[in-house]
Symmetry: C2
Subunit: 121 residues, 2 copies
DNA sequence: CAGGATCCGAATGGATACTG
DNA sequence: CAGTATCCATTCGGATCCTG
């Protein structure tokens, strides 16, 4: 399968059938926290605990894992300042910023149509 | 937290602190198959087994569950034709179609920047 | 054809305690 | 401050068998 767009640009690495780009991106960013982090970092760089305080409900472990994941995928950069106590600053990379665009569109849809989705109970 | 956009429109149902709209939407649609199904149905209505054949790798159980979820959230409609053998047709609702728009933007980003994401191994 | 019902392994994610 | 290390519950999702 895979969205129409793919048929335009597909060399397709059949070797080890990787899922289609869309599925792949969602597997990387579609977890519980990644998008939240990206959107926050879209506003300004954050320090670790600053992020921790800003994201309600996230555990320290998950924040670490999420950041490591995003960093490792090239969406977020991590800079260490060897001050005392040490400071670490996270920010979006250029790639991360580019992802922020379509993500913002999705966020807009979310706030606009949020009420129309049926409740879960 | 929650993206800037939220501060513009937030009545906030504090009662039972539901996550922010963005997180909520991602929890509903950010699973393994929902987006794929939505994008496919964006092209035309599908019958059950037609979908099953079109989505490589999905199990019958997951297709059912995904469709039930989307239907129950108001993103997909389900119409039964009491023919013999019976036919069931799935299509996007108006809400589903509206979601397709930002999703397409994300899909476009995916196919364009797919190669830039670092590999996982 | 379009599913419902079970079973089970794998991945996700929270809580907690400890560290340079 | 910015993590790492464990432990454990829940969820996700595939495989398989069965039905109107």
């Amino acid at each position: 399968m895979c969205p129409p767009a793919m048929t335009l640009s597909t060399p397709v690495p059949l070797a080890e059938h990787r899922a289609c780009p869309v599925t792949d991106v969602l597997n990387r960013v579609g977890d519980r926290w990644s998008v939240v982090v990206i959107v926050l970092l879209g506003g300004k760089p954050f320090r670790f605990n600053e992020l921790h305080r800003s994201i309600e409900g996230i555990s320290q472990r998950m924040l670490t894992r999420t950041l490591r994941g995003l960093e490792h995928e090239g969406l977020v950069s991590r800079e260490v300042f060897p001050t005392n106590p040490p400071g670490v600053e996270y920010a979006l990379t250029a790639l991360g910023e580019s992802l922020l665009v379509p993500l913002s569109a999705l966020a807009r849809w979310a706030v606009e149509h949020h009420g129309e989705l049926a409740a879960k109970p």
